[in-house]
Symmetry: C2
């Protein structure tokens, strides 16, 4: 997969675009796209997402979705605040704000002049930075604790320098410099993790260098014949999508964070995409990966469609979360843009019948690209997020509600909704739609239109901003997820909700907790369940810590109920303490021994996964 | 996944069938099948397969398929010998036999009394064996070189003892004993590998203990609700299939060796099954794996449908080929027996149009469970393997040939055949059949009936016996495989064939080589190509070595042509020398460092994969 320094592994050199020598056989038919824009300037440092988007309370005391990027953007959401008050069983006074003290004091850089000089000599001074806000941002992801901390007390330890390598060779040089100068390295992609993966160990005595991959963001080549592409680790999802789209392709990988997260991050966290039913999760999309390690550049020459070549880099690096090396590029599958894309939705009378429908749909092997089921609370939350209706829409909305609740007998306090995204050839999509709705009917499901389905799918992106908005109003919130066998799925959801209510009550916290879930992924043997949990913290001492305690209890309940430690978020430092509950002592020792063997100086000292 | 010795990892204990305590939540609805038969008594030691099956020349000087297990069994194959003479461009005198000297002299066991005593004390004397023929069989797989060697000069080194543990705890005890007594261990499953994986290093000074997994062959439980099963590593494919069938399920994993190979072997070699289009390869079927390692039992507690929990045992052990530990059990997906199974076949005018058809079928995402394409030589070989027609079948066969070659204009020297296996719901199967044949027509393909398809699929199992038959007549043969991107597939096939002809000619070997290929697996980005290669060695000095040289050259040509080192056979010792061509020095050093870390005493000293 490119240069590895010794000339032996060069069957598939990919970066030479000079054209002065004849193309190698592998390169025939390949497309070499123009460079992508470098990400991040338009992204917020202190809250999720783009600077121009978010939620705010307007002059009329109503919540408004700011900006124009999302379907919800620019709309006033008159039902939201009243609904939140109802859901949390507390009045919310818009004037009562939890003031953000961002930026907090940032610990001074501990990098010495020698380290900095060596890095600047290699990368150029422009690519070595000790700016406080930049270092702060490179030192955290988006866990509740981290986002609370940067707005309140600050972080006790952040990277001492931020470097931006431009090539695999640059990364290799940075690794050598770190070894020589006794520094440790934490790779940075999109900074969207929710596992404390970037949080700097307080007791790390060495200078910490954040290796910011944003400059390594090229789609190096697209191979349309074989439908694969070579993409650098720092390329951001939205840029990859735009680049591939210009050539008629899609990646098919759409994690909720796809706007901001990176190729390298997806590999390191073993990511999952919303359309995995059709395109696969990252482990199915990934054909090959290159990484810079303590031993040098781990790479393969050619990449086969599927191989049996013993232990190999791809399987070592998937889920490695920055502990074993820095992913620099990957070869992944791509897909022709589907000729047809249609959204859909189905209402069910309750969660159980929705899950039963999903199970039979899975057994039939007939899953739309994306199939998700929200529980009743989340369904109602979605309704509360609807913009104000105007004109005929008011009447339409009233009629719809009448039909659903009165004529069809759906109980507003029990009903759930399934959203669907069908992709493929026009006729295949229509056939699948027909079959899906026919099956739904057998579970008393009522087709609820493509508009609601589209809205549900797109809300995933817009809703990500609400956590920071809520935090301004003393509401702390977080998502977490698991995977669980089919026959334990419904019970797990119940158990986790019950446990959170118990923990909330036990602590005599204000109002009531908001806890809701959806089934987001379907597998032959079970499902992924995605939870949202929030509560009002006005008057609560150490609110962020209390939140963590309850989230910890929820994770414990998940494990007791047969759920996994994580479906796609990963372990990081947040869940490392649970590893002894899911892996035998020998497995943990294997992890540690492997880590020591491949990174004897602990250069990749992020200490994720408890290693 | 069961006991791991410290009581912490016990969420999913699976072996306690006492029923004296209430079932854990995980166990509700599970089936605990009766024990399986222990394999091997009916298998040959000196040739492939069952003792009662094979090929022989009968009194009339014709080849006959002996036995009654396969469709071809019990039939005389009058065209085969004449066709072989034509294909190899040499007369074959049935009387001119290469005499098998099996059994050869077997090196005496080097096991000392202390080692033996310790093993017997733990396992019982009945499960510790130093029988010469048993030790010989445990010391090889089915490469041409090995099979030639056991019939001619013998093997210089074989295991010194063969032990048969009955449980994970037994395996752990064997590992401890090996460490204490300075022995090394080579796990043995079905002995079907073709990578020299079991070949004992000649320079291994320690006693070598073959850990024969045949007693650990239970299907421990079947979870019908979640469609998964826990199966011990020594369970053989045919027994697993029979057990699951009794409960209405299939595994869906059908490697060519499925009659004899084991669950543990499939994991260790990263196996692929013929019906992977519908059920997936081993990496997609495998949910969890338990193994005994130098650090103890590597295991997980519960197993999720899909997880992100960092580095994990499943990914370490896939493809580990016995070098990192001994796989003891696995949790895998299972599938309800498909209501409908239909075979099919299509004739194409040439290999290129067949491949083009396969590519479009793949792009449409509409692959039958198994789709394979044989080249012209293999098609003709298949015809030569037809039993003598009798009665109306003679006329039918003549008419068919007339229609195909005269009316439809298929050139007997160019035409190729695609075999299909459709599985699923009756209507889905019929729809897919219709679509598949409609598409084939656009590539000038002619539907050639389900009987031919069934024959082609089933021939896979019967034909495996022909290599030993051919060897009796001075013909050495071997299969090897690769995977390659779509747009290089046809050229790779041509290049490899041409190279073999060149190598054959260069050495002035008798007659002409037999080299043929088929496309056996289809992927989004390319295909698996499976080659057969044979030549007549009468009068050739060192025939087995010459064969190896040419096979080595063929592998070199595969790599030059953009193919992978292996699609599913693996690396073993046979292809370890090629690893520096496909992995960077750092990747190889990572392999070595990892091996040293997790097996510091090299207890799993098979020295596969060059580690």
């Amino acid at each position: 997969m490119g240069a590895t320094g010794d000339g032996r592994v060069d069957r598939m050199a990919s970066t030479d675009r000079s054209g002065t020598t004849a193309r190698r056989a592998e390169e025939l038919g390949r497309i070499f796209p123009d460079p992508l824009p470098v990400a991040a300037d338009d992204e917020s440092l202190d809250v999720w997402g783009f600077r121009d988007s978010g939620f705010a309370i307007n002059a009329r005391g109503r919540v408004e979705a700011v900006g124009n990027r999302y379907a919800i953007s620019g709309h006033e959401l008159p039902s939201l605040l009243p609904w939140m008050e109802e859901a949390l069983a507390l009045p919310i006074d818009p004037a009562e704000r939890q003031v953000s003290h961002y930026p907090p004091a940032v610990p001074p850089s501990r990098a010495d002049a020698a380290l900095r000089g060596a890095l600047e000599a290699r990368l150029g001074a422009a690519h070595v930075d000790d700016d406080d806000l930049l270092r702060l941002r490179r030192g955290h992801g988006h866990t509740q604790e981290e986002m609370y901390a940067i707005k309140q007390e600050g972080l006790p330890r952040v990277p001492d320098l931020v470097v931006a390598p431009g090539s695999t060779e640059d990364v290799a040089a940075v690794v050598d410099i770190a070894r020589t100068h006794g520094a440790c390295l934490i790779p940075y992609g999109g900074g969207t993790n929710v596992t404390d993966a970037l949080r700097c160990p307080e007791d790390e005595a060495r200078p910490i260098v954040s290796v910011d991959m944003r400059r390594m963001n090229a789609v190096e080549w697209i191979d349309p014949d074989n439908q694969m592409a070579c993409i650098q680790a720092g390329a951001v999802g939205r840029h990859i999508a735009a680049c591939l789209a210009a050539h008629g392709f899609i990646l098919g990988h759409e994690p909720d964070s796809v706007e901001f997260s990176t190729m390298g991050g997806w590999i390191a966290t073993h990511a999952s995409g919303m359309k995995k039913n059709r395109y696969g999760n990252i482990e199915e999309l990934l054909l090959d990966v290159e990484a810079v390690t303590a031993h040098g550049v781990v790479a393969r020459s050619a990449v086969g469609p599927r191989e049996s070549v013993g232990s190999e880099p791809k399987r070592w690096l998937l889920g490695s979360e920055g502990t074993l090396g820095i992913v620099t590029r990957a070869v992944v599958k791509i897909f022709p843009k589907p000729p047809s894309q249609r959204y859909g939705s189905v209402l069910f009378h309750d969660f159980e019948s929705g899950v039963a429908f999903l199970e039979e749909l899975t057994r039939r092997g007939d899953l739309a690209a994306s199939v998700r089921l929200v529980d009743n609370l989340q369904f109602r939350f979605g309704q509360a997020l609807k913009p104000a209706s105007r004109g005929w829409r008011v009447a339409k909305s009233r009629v719809e509600r009448f039909v659903v609740t009165r004529l069809k007998g759906f109980d507003p306090e029990q009903m759930t909704a399934c959203t669907l995204v069908f992709e493929g050839a026009e006729d295949a999509v229509r056939d699948q739609e027909r079959r899906t709705y026919a099956l739904a009917k057998r579970y008393r499901g009522m087709a609820a239109g493509s508009e609601n389905g589209k809205r549900g799918y797109e809300l995933t992106f817009g809703i990500a901003y609400i956590r920071d908005f809520a935090m301004n109003h003393h509401i702390l919130g977080e998502s977490f997820e698991t995977s669980v066998p089919w026959n334990r799925a419904v019970a797990l959801c119940e158990n986790v909700k019950q446990r959170i209510w118990q923990e909330h009550e036990k602590r005599q916290l204000p109002g009531q907790p908001f806890v809701t879930c959806r089934v987001t992924q379907l597998y032959d043997t079970g499902v992924c369940i995605y939870f949202y949990f929030a509560f009002h913290t006005l008057g609560v001492a150490r609110p962020s810590e209390v939140f963590s305690e309850i989230e910890h209890a929820a994770r414990d309940e998940i494990l007791r109920s047969g759920g996994s430690l994580s479906h796609h978020h990963g372990v990081g430092k947040l869940r490392a303490k649970f590893l002894p509950e899911i892996m035998s002592p020998a497995a943990l020792e294997w992890k540690r021994a492997t880590k020591r063997a491949v990174d004897p100086d602990n250069l990749f000292g992020a200490a994720n996964q408890g290693t």
